[in-house]
Symmetry: none
Subunit: 415 residues, 2 copies
């Protein structure tokens, strides 16, 4: 089954945004055995859209199109699809009912431009969008089945799994080859070092192909397998995962691909423990990460984000002498921050960061990229110092935050 | 001058890597007035490469091709270009001399596969690569001038500036068309409503094209203009921006496309004011956003993230009676949180959030998506309540955080 991808929109055409959708779609299609042989992109131009859809309709078996389904004037995809298929646009009852229900549920008036989103080419079937207001649609033009999806990444991703993959499976029928994909998350080794640990995989597990992906600062391992026997394929996956667990040890975060904050949250739940955070250089990112996880109110009690030395002393109880003697960025200061926030909240664990995220504020002694981390536990308090060098402020905040959570994770695993 | 971009390589085709090169190239070309009307991508396949090069050679004036210039078997670009142009490959003297000098300078032996990199289509001119070992080349096929560059991003970027842009300037000569792009950020109106406010733009400003992009929860407006007179184009842009400012009023965040947190940070700097935050449902996201901006330590003093009622009382000084009487999610509680954090830190402004991000914890009275926001200023304290419904926890946190910052922004604008 030959597949193509078409991204639409002037933002992508002019390079205002990087098209990450196409890579995601290509991976998903390749994973289920549809070979992607071409990516295309054109802007918000009716004639060009219709022309490229016509070209693809003679070349591919399936095509995923993203973008141009919104309510505004420059959203031309449905019109272009109708032109390529040589049909009219008409209000689609399913789409209209669904959009009306959506606005009714939100207690918001539906504007005429939202109604436009229910105008689909005659012959198209509406694809409900469970996480947005623009419905997609599927339409066969000449030899090719086109899936038209929104360009907003999380909406597109949801519709790939809800609509596209199940329909592809039906289209493949009896000639089905079984595909399996598994994502494992790791932290603490570079991408190159992770790869070196796993070089033997293709030899030991011949049906499994390995891919590494940096999801900064985590490294994710992707296992792709294919075979004609689903049972044997499943066995080989289980063996490979066991083998990777032995090989990577503490560096393996999760065999489900879970993020650091999810893994730490699950461990806190499992140990019936709570945590409080004292953040300086990470500026709320540790707390934001932990509270992204539903149910985090069970274990996340409080975080104090103290940029100023006054706040470190007044709210978190760090002694002004410590700051005067060692400075704000020091293991001893970090330890007092962790102890302080543990004390005022009664949490099982107190975790702290103090460091220099940049671009300014570095010294010869403590250059940008330096972070001190404190961990107060029921038994003790420990201080750590690391030096990273990723250049950008946001990357420094990210690696500082995940490193602090990793210290807590390692402690929870042995507690 | 019509331009296209062609990315080659199985990594991009299968989605193993995101193609960020194409966005970069598109921006560079658009900036000098070459209109990019199409992006393409195919894998490492000789026939497909030759076929797509042939197509483009009849369609575009110029095309930038990336990838496939390396020393290995799957580097097929030069071969495909020769096939499309109907010429042979031959050792290019410039390229050969340059590669030999490169290896001599590095004191490394030159392998036969490196010599292969000097095999160029007859008629091509070598483009020296100052930061890598693969030379590029330029070749006219039919009506189109192709620039073949390496796929390694920093090599490609260097060769765009060293070779492609200077040659485009020569090719354009007298007929140069000027292009201008401008990005404005807004918050508070839906994409549809924003579009409806701006429908007259194409009529009033005929050289300007409008694009809207949701950068949740902000909506960004992109203006694309082109004309033969750079002075008149600049004037039309200034008038259009003024027109949009009048039309959108308080909903316009920034005519430079700045984010909410950047705008609020700049206002705090300008007014020499400071802020302290008391977050509940936003879980650190407001603080994380504010501290992403370099220099935020000048105005961001402290944030207390209090999930539990105990922390709201003990650390932020909310009276337990208020929580008992009104609950944690209430305007009155939010007002006390804002006052409390302002008091303990001495900040000019105290800003707070308390709400229900979901997926659980909603009630009939206070469903998931409800947020109460408090703002304490030197003069007063105000409370607000909103109800959003975006389904996902992370989207709720995002809209809650940006709505709170927007309340502070509106206050700062009139203070």
């Amino acid at each position: 089954m030959n597949a193509e991808i078409l991204s639409t929109g002037d933002e992508v055409r002019t390079g205002a945004i990087v098209d990450s959708n196409s890579a995601y779609i290509a991976q998903q299609l390749e994973d289920v055995g549809a070979m992607v042989f071409r990516h295309n992109c054109v802007g918000d131009d009716l004639d060009m859209l219709a022309e490229i859809l016509t070209e693809i309709s003679h070349r591919a078996d399936i095509c995923v199109v993203t973008g141009g389904l919104g309510p505004t004037q420059d959203d031309l995809t449905a019109q272009a699809a109708a032109k390529a298929a040589g049909v009219e646009l008409a209000y689609d009852n399913d789409a209209l009912t669904w959009i009306e229900a959506l606005f009714a549920a939100r207690n918001r008036p539906m504007s005429p431009s939202n109604k436009k989103q229910a105008l689909l080419p005659v012959g198209a079937s509406c694809l409900v969008n469970p996480v947005g207001t623009a419905p997609g649609f599927v339409l066969k033009i000449h030899q090719c089945t086109f899936f038209f999806l929104p360009g907003v990444p999380h909406e597109m991703r949801r519709m790939i799994s809800d609509h596209v993959l199940p329909r592809l499976s039906v289209m493949q029928g009896e000639n089905r080859i079984f595909y399996k994909v598994k994502n494992l998350s790791t932290f603490g080794l570079t991408e190159a070092a992770t790869g070196e640990h796993l070089t033997e995989i293709p030899r030991i597990f011949p049906h499994i192909k390995l891919g590494l992906r940096a999801s900064f600062p985590e490294i994710h391992i992707k296992l792709y397998g294919q075979g004609t026997d689903s049972y044997l394929l499943e066995q080989e996956f289980q063996n490979a995962i066991q083998w990777i667990q032995n090989k990577l040890g503490i560096y393996l975060l999760s065999v489900e691909g879970d993020s650091m904050e999810k893994v730490v949250g699950d461990l806190l739940c499992e140990k019936r423990s709570t945590v409080a955070i004292a953040e300086s250089c990470t500026g709320g990112l540790i707390s934001h990460k932990l509270t992204e996880i539903p149910g985090s109110s069970d274990y996340f009690l409080f975080s104090g984000i103290a940029y100023s030395n006054e706040a470190k002393s007044n709210v978190l109880g760090v002694s002004p002498e410590t700051i005067a003697r060692y400075g704000a960025v020091h293991e001893i200061t970090a330890k007092e921050m962790a102890q302080g926030v543990k004390r005022i909240t009664g949490a099982t664990y107190g975790l702290s960061t103090s460091g220099i995220a940049g671009p300014d504020g570095g010294t010869e002694d403590k250059p940008v990229g330096t972070v001190c981390i404190g961990l107060a536990t029921p038994e003790s308090v420990e201080g750590f110092r690391y030096r990273f060098n990723f250049g950008r402020r946001s990357m420094n905040k990210e690696i500082f935050a995940v490193s602090a959570l990793d210290i807590l994770r390692r402690k929870l695993l042995v507690s």
